[in-house]
């Protein structure tokens, strides 16, 4: 009984503080409404704050410089960027879904990874209509698929594209040279036209260098191979175009899984799962020498918690084995619950526009999906200082226009999460190689519900 009474007291305290909190939030949301009516009547006397919620490691969406510039020029509309987490499927998206469902908590502009777009499109009631807010004229700025993916099933425009994936391989130039391999990016690219060659190079590297593993873990390269194989199999991965789970029947998934198993079995991995604390530390301490790098990954690697300043000049970018591929890429949308949809749409327009996207590419390396930005000489001729002045414009921009989108189902994020757990688990030894494939299929079926 005493136990209960203590628990009750804790509960009461918790309840009381919850109540206090709700009172506070109620007040603050009232304030928000007041601001809205104020700014409507007394135009720009008080600045409207537009909260932009994003996700990602390192420099994430790369908006820092673009937002600083906007805030300096627009005293009436201030942008506040909240980068909530580096984990999209596991943390950001579930949280955002709750906010969207409950009608409060989401920012005025929110970033959505490709993996969430299937679900986002299936819920038109979550989003403000960007067409009504005057953005339907932006169609010409984007490749058709990027534009179409921002339109709901019933034809409402709700999201505009930010970046596209593209594909390259990041490698530690200094360590390659130490291992007696070529350091120059063109020659490195020639070392591995196929993934089999890549594994051979890995063994050559590993013979000379013991402290550093050739790749980070299974998960990053699994994803790279998956998008390449997916493109060969009708541009689908986990879900067929009718939203039916095809994990067990799509040869692309099996091929990528087999590759992950191979590099793990042959001892080329540092057994680190991407986007965990250890993975970021591993990058800083040089625990692995290569990494699958879609354009946005350049911003992750160069971020302070990853490669950081001490890694500058050590990393370089080369062509990826097996040709191109498209991993990732995001959209921006305005939730219906936003109190300032008009201003939010202006901000969204700016952040997906040519100037901001060129600035993002320059700052973080994320390849714009905006075709005008892609063709901008500042992008085409861009070199990334952090990566030994690699001609990233040349590497990514040229292929960006021809990128094919992979179809992603409504429950893609959940299935991806389940599958990647298994792909990492065979590497860290918690699931035996022999059981891995069956577990992967089982867990995927369960996650697809």
């Amino acid at each position: 009984m005493t136990g209960n009474s203590r628990r009750g007291r804790m509960l009461a305290i918790a309840a009381a503080s919850a109540l206090a909190l709700s009172v506070v939030t109620a007040c603050s949301s009232d304030d928000g409404e007041d601001n809205a009516s104020d700014s409507a009547s007394t135009a720009a006397s008080e600045p409207v704050t537009i909260v932009v919620q994003t996700f990602g490691g390192g420099k994430n969406f790369g908006y820092k410089e673009a937002i600083d510039k906007w805030n300096a020029e627009h005293p009436d509309i201030q942008i506040k960027n909240d980068n909530l987490t580096d984990q999209f499927e596991q943390v950001y998206w579930p949280q955002l879904i709750q906010w969207l469902q409950s009608g409060t908590g989401a920012g005025d502009v929110v970033g959505i990874d490709e993996g969430g777009m299937g679900l986002a499109k299936a819920h038109p009631e979550w989003w403000a209509d960007l067409g009504e807010l005057g953005l339907s004229g932006r169609k010409a700025d984007f490749p058709d698929w990027k534009w179409e993916n921002g339109v709901t099933a019933d034809g409402k425009l709700f999201g505009l594209g930010t970046d596209v994936g593209g594909m390259s391989l990041c490698y530690r130039k200094d360590l390659f040279e130490k291992a007696g391999l070529p350091g120059d990016r063109d020659e490195v690219g020639k070392l591995w036209p196929t993934w089999d060659d890549f594994v051979k190079v890995g063994h050559r590297f590993q013979e000379k260098i013991k402290d550093t593993k050739f790749v980070d873990g299974t998960n990053t390269l699994y994803n790279v191979v998956l998008v390449q194989e997916g493109a060969k199999n009708g541009n689908v991965t986990y879900f067929g175009k009718g939203n039916k789970l095809i994990v067990d029947s799509n040869p692309a998934v099996k091929a990528s899984y087999d590759f992950a198993e191979k590099i793990s079995k042959e001892g080329l991995t540092a057994k680190l799962r991407n986007f965990t604390e250890e993975w970021f530390t591993g990058m800083k301490k040089g625990q692995f020498a290569t990494l699958g790098c879609p354009s946005w990954m350049l911003g992750v690697v160069s971020g302070d918690n990853a490669g950081g300043p001490e890694g500058k000049g050590k990393w370089d970018v080369a062509a990826v084995p097996g040709g191109g591929g498209n991993w990732g890429g995001s959209w921006l949308a305005v939730p219906k619950q936003s109190k300032h949809p008009k201003e939010a749409a202006q901000v969204l327009d700016y952040l997906t526009g040519k100037d901001a996207q060129v600035s993002v590419f320059d700052y973080a390396g994320n390849m714009p999906s905006n075709t005008q930005a892609q063709q901008d000489p500042a992008v085409q001729g861009a070199k990334n200082e952090y990566f030994n002045d690699a001609p990233v414009g040349d590497i990514f921009a040229k292929s960006a226009a021809s990128l094919q989108p992979i179809f992603l189902g409504v429950k893609h994020a959940q299935v991806k999460n389940a599958v990647e757990s298994v792909v990492s688990a065979i590497d860290d030894g918690s699931v035996a190689y022999a059981d891995g494939w069956k577990r992967l299929v089982d867990d995927a079926v369960k996650a697809a519900g």
């Binding site: 136990g3 918790a14 579930p94 709750q98 918690s430």
Partner: protein, 324 residues
């Protein structure tokens, strides 16, 4: 809150008890009534109202939806006991149950013993008593997240302090986050670091209520200090122990924050759910997979588990030093 009491009165006020002579609600008698009868209820009502709102209502709500398939899109379909039978045959659920019980056992048994010995040590007279007694409570003041962040780094596979120390003795690095038992150990130390001092203080309070003359009599009879501890202190502490053990049972079986933070805030609890607790399982089902009905059913099974666990522990502790 006052509203509630006002609303409650009229039903009782028109029928005053017979021993009252005044038939009308004169202001004076009303005030007396308010002072003597209603005030105690008024004073405790905030707690009960809040409990009703934030405790009982969610409990009932959860039970109701445990019988439905209720997903993110808002589709609600009656499934009867489908969620419960599904859970009982769900290996992931059972894995979470085993993890929870395992971590509970690893964390709680040493914690109780340590707390008991610590309390005994603190019960002696020495200089700076107050300071030291307060000191053991300090870990409780730090936030769980801060504790978890520090411990996560201590238990790092490649750069952690613990593995570094182990390497002095020639041990291979332990992968604390992927091997099941080591991960439980790591989380158990986190829990113990935080709660041992707290339980010690409660034990200490219990010890100070034990009459001194018992010890004096035992000393005269020639009982050693160790004998006194096991024959007098421990049996006399039984009521305190029941409280502490039940408290730890509830806390241990609803473990969430430490293991979640141990894996970057991911409620999957390791790549293969090595340290996913039932609470994390519920959270994963409800707020990652958005299967609210399934999560509700799991929450009720956890409630049952806690009831059973508390009962077993209660019976066990009651036997400690029982009268023969």
């Amino acid at each position: 809150m006052s509203l509630h009491v006002d609303a409650g009165q009229p039903t009782r006020a028109p029928v005053p008890p017979d021993r009252r002579h005044v038939r009308r609600n004169s202001p004076r008698s009303f005030r007396t009534w308010l002072d003597l009868k209603a005030a105690p209820y008024l004073l405790v009502s905030p707690y009960y109202l809040l409990f009703l709102l934030f405790g009982l209502f969610p409990l009932g709500f959860t039970l109701y939806y445990a019988f439905f398939t209720y997903d993110l899109t808002g589709t609600v379909e009656w499934t009867g006991v489908g969620n419960f039978t599904g859970l009982l045959s769900d290996s992931a659920f059972w894995k979470a149950v085993v993890n929870t019980l395992g971590m509970f056992a690893i964390a709680t048994v040493p914690q109780m013993l340590l707390a008991l010995l610590l309390a005994d040590a603190l019960n002696k007279r020495f200089k700076g008593q107050l300071f030291v007694r307060m000191g053991v409570l300090l870990p409780l003041v730090t936030s769980v997240v801060a504790v978890a962040v520090v411990f996560t780094q201590l238990y790092g596979r490649d750069w952690g302090l613990i593995n570094w120390v182990l390497s002095w003795f020639g041990a291979d690095p332990v992968s604390w986050k992927t091997e099941r038992i080591p991960s439980w150990l790591a989380i158990a130390t986190m829990i113990d670091w935080r709660w041992t001092g707290y339980n010690a203080i409660i034990f200490l309070a219990g010890m100070q209520t034990i009459p001194r003359d018992l010890y004096e009599a035992a000393s005269i009879d020639g009982a050693s200090r160790r004998r006194q501890f096991w024959q007098i202190t421990v049996p006399m502490l039984r009521p305190t122990m029941i409280f502490v053990v039940l408290n730890s049972t509830i806390g241990g079986l609803t473990l969430f924050a430490e293991p979640t933070t141990f894996y970057n805030g991911n409620v999957h609890g390791g790549t293969d759910s090595q340290f996913q607790t039932v609470s994390m399982f519920i959270f994963e089902q409800g707020f990652r997979e958005f299967d609210y009905g399934y999560a509700s059913a799991a929450a009720w099974l956890l409630f049952l588990l806690i009831l059973i666990g508390s009962l077993i522990n209660f019976l066990l502790v009651r036997r400690i030093g029982g009268n023969k």
